[in-house]
């Protein structure tokens, strides 16, 4: 057998035997990304709701900024957070650089524009359909947007899963602010980058398979939710 096949087999063995290092890395990845999505989701959805409801004069500028930040490279986010949290930075006294907390902050900042932009679009589409009728019930623009959030909760779940997929598969920001410290800040993506550069393919492959599995599972969930939403819309049209 060739080295590649050997590596794949070794990787599958690591997964099957629940290798301790593998589990530690996967566990930290999931914790960091889930917490980041929770924090980023609350901030991002509130921002998106406000953008959908408000009529302030600078709203077009705010929307443009949010949409532009969607394309922000993760390594740039890492750089910004690094500068904030470094010893000479404004938040250096917190002492959280190269810790999972810094990684959570970086990934939260990464997913906030995603939550804001997609939830705003979701709400605007909903408000086009039912905004008038909510207004006729006495709802203010913000109340209408909040009711629409409840109405479109399946769509919101899709956005959350999309943001989670983005967070868990990024490497730039967590590498910069986490430092990829073994047993402390090493997550799936940074471990893959390191193990590949060392030539230790089995662990890198194993992590890659798990990461693909997580992202794949998230995509299956998104597809299932889309299917449910589409069926519901057809049934009640």
């Amino acid at each position: 057998m060739n080295p590649f096949t050997d590596s794949v087999l070794l990787a599958l063995q690591l997964i099957a035997h629940a290798d301790a290092e593998l589990l530690r890395v996967v566990g930290l990845s999931l914790r960091v990304s889930i917490v980041a999505c929770a924090i980023g989701g609350v901030i991002g959805v509130l921002l998106g709701t406000w953008l959908a409801a408000t009529r302030v004069v600078f709203r077009p500028v705010a929307v443009w900024v949010v949409n532009t930040l969607l394309a922000l490279p993760s390594v740039v986010v890492g750089l910004i957070v690094y500068l904030l949290l470094s010893r000479t930075g404004p938040l250096g006294s917190l002492g959280i650089l190269f810790t999972p907390k810094a990684m959570i902050i970086a990934q939260s900042l990464l997913v906030i524009p995603l939550f804001a932009a997609l939830s705003r679009r979701l709400l605007l589409d909903g408000l086009t359909e039912g905004g008038d009728q909510l207004r006729s019930m006495g709802a203010s623009p913000l109340q209408s947007a909040l009711l629409m959030l409840v109405h479109e909760r399946l769509g919101l779940l899709t956005i959350t899963l999309t943001a989670f997929g983005r967070a868990i598969s990024e490497v730039g920001s967590v590498m910069v602010v986490g430092g990829n410290i073994e047993g402390f800040t090493r997550v799936m993506t940074t471990a893959i980058a390191l193990e590949t550069s060392k030539g230790d393919l089995p662990l890198a492959l194993a992590l890659g398979i798990v990461l693909l599995g997580v992202v794949g599972f998230v995509n299956v969930l998104i597809g299932w939710i889309h299917g449910r939403t589409a069926s519901a819309r057809e049934a009640f049209a």
């Binding site: 359909e129 039912g130 008038d132 009728q133 909510l134 207004r135 006729s136 019930m137 006495g138 709802a139 109340q143 009711l147 409840v150 109405h151 479109e152 909760r153 399946l154 519901a232 049934a235 009640f236």
Partner: protein
């Protein structure tokens, strides 16, 4: 001739509504009196829906829209509207009525539940209170929207072609509910293409064309007297396609 016993609720004077370069309502004068059942008839695009929305306060206008305070407490009349295709939240029937009550200022939870339950019972949906609203049939959804409007105890209920998409059975159910609401003292304004419905339900009929009220008569006179040519053609179903 003005009925001296009429109590005005809402009046429009020279009301004009424009959307971009389209004049949806053109210098409309209308006074809606308490207890009336005003039927708005006219072709598609004649301004019926816009007039309903203006009466409800959903669109701005040039001219005047006046709401008259009700005796004895002097509060403003409460208006509620039922749209042709009601928008229902993806929640249960009960949770489509409760937010409407909260938005209308009913802050006491027990009172909200009582009025919600009562409104659903009146429209015959009490047994489906915990069913997802969007799983109800078309007629049931329309009745749910009616319950939502009725629950806030409106003085004026505006209905935009409430039976347009319903089968004959569902149509009869909704008409019966509208009759019941009117008997309870609520002033009704309905836009409809169904002239039989206008005859059955209305005490007053207004014919609209190109954003203007061309004819506005008590129902008995509307269907008996000679009307302007366009109104006659409309009644006969012979209005030319423009």
């Amino acid at each position: 001739m003005l009925n001296p016993a009429a109590i005005p609720l809402i009046s429009l004077a020279r009301a004009t509504v424009q959307f971009d370069d389209v004049t949806a309502l053109d210098h409309v004068d209308l006074t809606l009196n308490k207890g009336e059942r005003l039927m708005l008839v006219g072709a598609n695009g004649s301004g019926k829906t816009t007039l309903l929305r203006l009466l409800h306060g959903l669109v701005p206008c040039k001219g005047e829209r006046t709401m008259f305070p009700l005796a004895p407490r002097g509060r403003q009349p409460v208006t509620a509207m039922l749209f042709q295709r009601p928008f229902l939240l993806s929640l249960t029937a009960r949770w489509n009525v409760l937010p409407a009550l909260w938005l209308h200022g009913v802050r006491n939870k027990a009172e909200r539940e009582r009025r919600c339950h009562e409104a659903l019972r009146r429209v015959g949906l009490d047994h489906l209170a915990n069913r997802p609203a969007r799983s109800l049939s078309g007629g049931q959804q329309q009745r749910l929207a009616l319950a939502r409007a009725w629950a806030v105890e409106p003085d004026v209920l505006l209905l935009d072609e409430p039976t347009a998409n319903l089968d004959p059975n569902a149509k009869r159910e909704v008409e019966a509910l509208v009759e019941e609401i009117a008997r309870a003292g609520v002033t009704i304004v309905i836009s409809t293409h169904n002239l039989g419905q206008a005859k059955r339900l209305g005490t007053r009929v207004a014919y609209l064309e190109a954003g203007r009220i061309v004819v506005d008569l008590p129902a008995g006179r509307f269907f008996e007297e000679r009307l302007p040519r366009e109104a006659e053609l409309f009644l006969k179903g012979e209005l030319p396609w423009t």
